[in-house]
């Protein structure tokens, strides 16, 4: 039997660090990258006698997530999840167990397929351990250092149903989820900083059965790329086991990025007994109807709706394949309002979309902060031929970097518009200097447009607009 006859069944657990100002149970700063052990206090260090007090903003963000994922939001309880680990200050994690705040929702992928959301619950993050000396790996390290800045940072763990059927679909799910989490400002979406962490539960089954196979949980998936690769690898591994007549053992496995394979961490028998019990230091979290209504009312437009809006702006004929990708990119990065605002001020949507999906997206953090009027002005200058596309990109980069007015930047860079007739004259010069190529062009060798354009660019110090050059060449050919 071949891999094609087997179907992977995947459920994802996504841990999302909430972008609150302070931690889940104390007033310490919730920030990435600060000096180790500077954002700590008796509570998040779990000092004897300290007690947790729930951060209301974290509950609100959890409710936003529940709303965005069409979950039922319920009165919920915190439990203690007990296990010993040096980077966990209390040696238990305060987490929601059998009464989570959000249950039974769904997420719709851009292709219209739905993935069920089993639950999205609140919990606290742990600290971070660095193994030092020796080979720097856990087993041969001399000692370990622990940074508790992350201990107590609020997390929401979003658990999908096992509805995902391929690595590519898993990737699309996480991309869409990330776009949603960023839209509601619950997350900055930075997987590389650990803001979003994904575990994949993978099993395989032969063709048309409804029965689920034995699953393995794969951890340490720090990028979309490793998520997809890990699911592919794990699927292949399980299929080859089953095809060899061997059982898949229920295990927790670790994705080894260097070796590009999953390795066993612990088996079902070695699994921790977490001894969950209700956290006696906290009380029931029961958001009242008023609060729930407020949150529902404040829910910003979701990525799907925003993609639809951009597609609609592109107008009849629908978007090209490239534009579909551009739309997805600008929405995922939260840059779509740049396009919408430009369009409403009369900029052609394809131009606004292309600049935003390519140039703005490459510097998304700055682009989100850019002066909207300046951005519109720049697009208008390009649209009206005052700047060539090459010049416009250069001005845009400068605008994101330093701000200012696009006209000033263009002037500083010496990007003055060419006087009327300059292009016409330059084209005429180039044509008369290359009669042989001109003849071939006139006989239909269209690719020579590039040849002539290049020469015109040289002659005009790259200030000519490629489109105008091409139009003049066509006019001359008649």
């Amino acid at each position: 039997m071949s891999v094609e006859a087997w179907e992977p069944v995947v459920g994802l657990e996504v841990h999302c660090e909430l972008k609150t100002a302070t931690k889940l149970f104390c007033g310490c700063r919730n920030a990435f990258g600060d000096e180790p052990n500077t954002n700590i206090c008796p509570v998040c260090l779990g000092l004897p006698g300290s007690l947790p007090v729930l951060n209301v903003k974290a509950v609100e963000l959890a409710m936003f997530i529940g709303n965005a994922l069409h979950c039922e939001i319920r009165p919920s309880l915190f439990h203690r999840k007990n296990y010993f680990y040096p980077d966990m200050p209390k040696d238990y994690q305060i987490s929601q167990y059998d009464e989570p705040i959000n249950v039974n929702g769904w997420l719709e992928l851009p292709d219209g397929q739905r993935v069920g959301i089993v639950r999205a619950h609140m919990e606290e993050d742990t600290g971070k351990t660095s193994h030092m000396g020796g080979g720097g790996r856990i087993h041969d390290a001399d000692h370990a250092l622990v940074d508790y800045n992350r201990a107590g940072v609020p997390l929401v763990e979003i658990v999908s149903a096992p509805d995902i059927r391929s690595a590519a679909q898993a990737r699309r799910y996480v991309e869409e989820l990330r776009a949603i989490l960023m839209a509601i400002r619950a997350s900055d979406g930075r997987m590389e900083e650990g803001s979003l962490r994904v575990d994949a539960n993978v099993s395989v089954r032969a063709g048309r059965t409804d029965e689920l196979g034995t699953r393995c949980e794969v951890k340490n998936l720090n990028s979309l790329r490793s998520l997809a690769r890990a699911i592919e690898h794990e699927t292949e591994r399980q299929v080859s086991l089953l095809e060899a007549g061997e059982p898949v053992l229920q295990q927790t496995r670790h994705w080894d990025e260097q070796a590009q394979k999953t390795v066993a961490l612990r088996s079902k028998e070695e699994a921790f007994d977490y001894r969950y019990f209700p956290e006696p230091d906290l009380v029931l979290v029961a958001p009242g109807p008023d609060w729930q209504y407020q949150v529902a009312l404040c829910l910003p437009p979701m990525p799907a709706e925003r993609r639809a809006k951009l597609t609609e702006l592109l107008g009849a004929g629908g978007p090209t394949a490239a534009q579909v990708d551009q739309v997805a990119t600008v929405v995922a990065l939260g840059l779509d309002t740049l396009v919408v605002e430009a369009a409403s001020s009369g900029i052609e949507v394809p131009l606004a979309l292309a600049r935003t999906a390519n140039e703005a997206a490459a510097d998304a953090d700055r682009a989100r902060e850019v002066d909207r009027a300046a951005y519109g002005t720049l697009l208008r200058m390009e649209q009206e031929g005052m700047l060539t596309p090459t010049q416009a990109k250069a001005v845009l980069a400068d605008l994101f970097e330093n701000g200012g007015h696009p006209a000033d930047i263009a002037r500083r860079k010496g990007f003055e518009a060419l006087g009327a007739g300059t292009v016409v004259a330059a084209v005429a010069d180039v044509v008369s200097a290359h009669p042989e190529e001109w003849a071939r062009y006139c006989q239909g060798e269209d690719k020579l447009v590039g040849f002539f354009t290049g020469l015109v660019m040289q002659a005009t110090d790259k200030k000519a607009n490629g489109k105008e050059v091409a139009a003049e060449l066509r006019r001359l050919r008649g």
Binding site: P48, G49, L51, R275
Partner: protein
């Protein structure tokens, strides 16, 4: 001299806080060698606190209702920069970077913290013999235990080393030692006193409360330490019942139920004293009737499942990584095990193992789950009882003070010492023990009053009536010579 009198004299300038403090520090120095009520005595910091009280009085300020009153604090309450050991090797050398809320409130009322008192390790025990630093002795008979776990605070107050002290009560740890030492001890309604800075034993049961030689002092201290604390999520947000202001309103028409199950198995001399207390209440105008709350007999087994379960989790953090004792080993896991093996005493280990077992997969429902149901049953049973009664009356402990060493090898016998006190912890209700005479061996007997949640006002009124009717007690064998105000002699003067 009691706390209210001391504070009164300091506030009127009759005496200075520094002189009051020196008297008490001398008494501690003279008596505590034998008593061992204190683990830490804070001479210098207490002196500067007392000087500050005097300075403020000189400047025309009022430091508060406990102005210049020396107070002892159980060593499981965090005190900034001062050792807080929980009488455990595992916390030896740890200096908390913060004060418990109750300690802040004491200072806010003008009290002077003179020291940290001995306890059973992590408040687990009924005799203070489980302290890693040696037992405390009962001032009435040094061969006997002071009770526990707050034995140090009870003994210090009984011996007159301090007029008032703080303890914590998870299953009787204030009331049982108060009864055995012949002083007043209150376990307040769960949520009325902040737990912030109280090193947790069993979080859903722990409550900080006062020890005093008079009911009025206990009421004063309760008023000072109670009130909402935003740092404790289980702290109640409604106003607390007033204790002192309405203390003298009497019990005329108050309905008192004498709970037969809280006398079952108690010594005859204890039962006799409870009946006398009931008669005193009746004589003062209360309607006293016998009543039955059969469910309280299930409280002890439920308690010994729930409290260890929470303790096993609360005590997990003592892993040698961040503070306190560390016994080095080849891996984090081995270091953790070695540290805990050396750092915890046998009773703490027993309860951690018990609690871990109770919460384990496959056993949770049978033990923890069942015990929670029993807890609900007990709450309902009390609710029924309080339809017929405003307060309930019973024994505080089945026996008076027992001899050191007599129960240490028999944990179950030791646990039975809490049989009358545990039910109120499970219910979250308040209860108070008031000294009421002595037994045949001249050992103090305590009687216990119970009330529904936030029923402290009526409970204190009944306690004041009982106190006023109490037969003379005995003077402690160990007591401060200069202060000499054992609870019994104070009453003898009335």
């Amino acid at each position: 001299m009691n706390a209210s009198e001391l504070a009164g004299r300091v506030r009127t300038g009759e005496t200075r806080a520094v002189d009051v403090l020196e008297q008490h520090l001398r008494a501690i120095e003279e008596c505590d060698g034998e008593l061992h009520a204190f683990l830490t005595v804070l001479g210098d910091t207490a002196r500067s606190e007392a000087r500050e009280i005097d300075r403020r009085l000189g400047a025309g300020e009022d430091p508060g209702p406990l102005a210049g009153v020396p107070v002892a604090v159980k060593d499981n309450l965090c005190t900034r920069g001062v050792p807080t050991t929980c009488a455990s090797r595992i916390l030896e050398g740890w200096l908390p970077p913060y004060d418990a809320t109750v300690v802040k409130r004491l200072r806010g009322a003008g009290a002077v913290v003179v020291g940290k008192t001995n306890l059973d390790e992590f408040a687990m025990g009924s005799s203070t013999e489980n302290s890693a630093f040696g037992p405390t002795r009962n001032p009435h008979d040094p061969r006997r235990v002071p009770g526990g776990s707050s034995g140090g605070s009870a003994a210090a107050v009984a011996a007159g080393l301090v007029p008032i002290a703080l303890g914590s009560d998870t299953g009787g740890s204030i009331r049982q030692p108060a009864a055995l030492c012949g002083v007043v001890g209150l376990k307040p309604t769960y949520g009325t006193v902040s737990r912030y800075g109280l090193v947790a034993f069993a979080s859903s049961l722990d409550q900080v409360g006062p020890f005093a030689r008079t009911v009025a002092d206990a009421a004063t201290l309760f008023d000072v330490i109670s009130g909402h604390d935003p740092l404790d999520s289980t702290s109640l947000e409604r106003p607390n019942p007033l204790a002192l202001a309405r203390l003298e309103e009497g019990v005329d028409g108050m309905r008192v139920g004498v709970v037969v199950e809280l006398l079952d198995g108690a010594d005859a001399s204890v039962v006799k004293r409870v009946h006398e207390a009931a008669e005193a209440l009746a004589a003062a105008g209360a309607n006293v009737e016998e009543c039955s709350v059969p469910e309280v007999s299930y409280a002890l087994p439920a308690y010994y499942l729930l409290a260890p379960a929470e303790a096993s989790s609360n005590l997990a953090r003592y892993d040698g990584v961040r503070y306190g004792l560390r016994v080095d080993a080849s891996s984090a896991e081995a270091m953790n095990g070695a540290t805990r093996a050396v750092g915890f005493g046998p009773e703490v280990k027993r309860r951690i193992m018990l609690g871990t077992y109770v919460l384990s997969a496959g056993y949770y429902d049978a033990y923890y789950g069942q015990a929670q149901k029993v807890r609900t049953l007990i709450i309902r049973a009390f609710a029924r009882a309080y339809e017929q009664a405003d307060v309930l009356l019973g024994a505080t402990t089945p026996t008076t003070a027992f001899e050191l060493g007599s129960k240490v090898d028999d944990p179950l016998a030791m646990y039975l010492s809490d049989v009358c006190t545990v039910p109120t912890n499970l219910a979250g209700h308040p209860a108070i023990t008031v000294p009421f005479g002595v037994d045949d061996l001249a050992l103090p007997v305590g009687v216990q009053l119970l009330a529904p949640a936030l029923g402290e006002t009526s409970m204190f009124q009944a306690a004041a009536v009982i106190e006023g009717a109490a037969p003379a007690g005995a003077l402690p064998q160990i007591c401060a010579p200069t202060i000499g105000a054992g609870p019994t002699s104070t009453r003898g003067e009335r």
